[in-house]
Amino acid sequence: MQVVPEASLHRSLRLAAIGTLAGLFSGLFGVGGGSVIVPLLVLWLGYGEHAATATSLAAIIFIAGFAALTQGLYGNVHVLDALLIGVPAVGGVLIGTWLAQRIPARTVSLLFAGVLVLSAVELILR
């Protein structure tokens, strides 16, 4: 646990800007917002990679929680599907971190990019 110095107004404003951007992004697209938070914590607040990722994960609990709650008011949340995805996903993360030591990052990145492009094409053609 790192000791956090008293946050200056400047610092708080930056956190507010990151939070607002990440919240909008998360709410609009149904994702966590880590891809907004992590680089901005590094660029604007001088975070290292590990602290940025870890702090981002903690913030995402609030962001995704509140966005899911708001979506719930629209009646869009399928709770059973969310559980069937979210619980195995925890196991998936453990497998992924184990695999990360054994598969080159480059291979994984390219495979992931390929899956994303296929998904995008499938969505657009629908």
């Binding site: 646990m1 790192q2 956190l15 939070g19 607002t20 919240g23 909008l24 709410g27 609009l28 697209f29 149904g30 994702v31 938070i37 992590v38 680089p39 914590l41 590094v42 607040l45 990679e49 590990h50 602290a51 990722t53 870890a54 903690a58 913030a59 609990i61 962001i63 995704a64 509140f66 899911a68 719930g72 869009n76 949340v77 399928h78 599907d81 969310a82 559980l83 069937l84 995805i85 979210g86 195995p88 996903a89 196991g91 998936g92 453990l94 992924g96 971190t97 990360a100 598969i103 990052a105 480059r106 994984v108 390219l110 994303l116 492009v117 998904s119 995008a120 499938e122 969505l123 629908r126």
Partner: protein, 138 residues
């Protein structure tokens, strides 16, 4: 049911491997394999992300990586944006939202290709290097 579990496992593995969200896989998975519409898929993805974020936070906090004060402030300051994003999403038609999401996927894919091409010289983008400490090469 098997489909949902497979989507969860796949998204989790990617999150563990690359340090970024399974959410970006949950949404298309829910649309393509479970037949949800774009709004339902995004809403359901948000809820599905929470268990991973909670367990991830717990593990990272034990390593001392979570800056709790900032995380709390960041989380609280994001609530208005999160609600605004959801309202905006629901103001858009499913088709527009789906195409915008597809565009987002292409942008993220581009970032990962760039990252892959840059790997080895330390030029990986910030969001993608989260697990670099676990790899000998990175």
């Amino acid at each position: 049911m098997t489909g949902a579990v497979a989507i969860g496992l796949a998204g989790g593995i990617i999150a563990g491997l690359l340090g970024v969200g399974g959410g970006v896989l949950f949404v298309p998975g829910l649309v393509i394999f479970l037949g949800l519409d774009q709004h339902q898929a995004e809403a359901t993805s948000l809820l599905a992300i929470i268990p991973v974020a909670i367990v991830g936070t717990y593990v990272q906090d034990r390593y001392g990586n979570v800056r709790r004060g900032d995380a709390l402030l960041l989380g609280l300051l994001s609530l208005a944006g999160a609600a605004g994003g959801v309202v905006l999403a629901n103001a858009l038609s499913g088709t527009v939202l789906r195409d915008a999401f597809a565009g987002l996927l292409l942008i993220i894919a581009g970032q990962f290709v760039r990252r892959a091409l840059a790997s080895g010289d330390g030029a990986a983008p910030a969001s993608a290097a989260a697990n670099s400490h676990r790899r000998e090469k990175a």
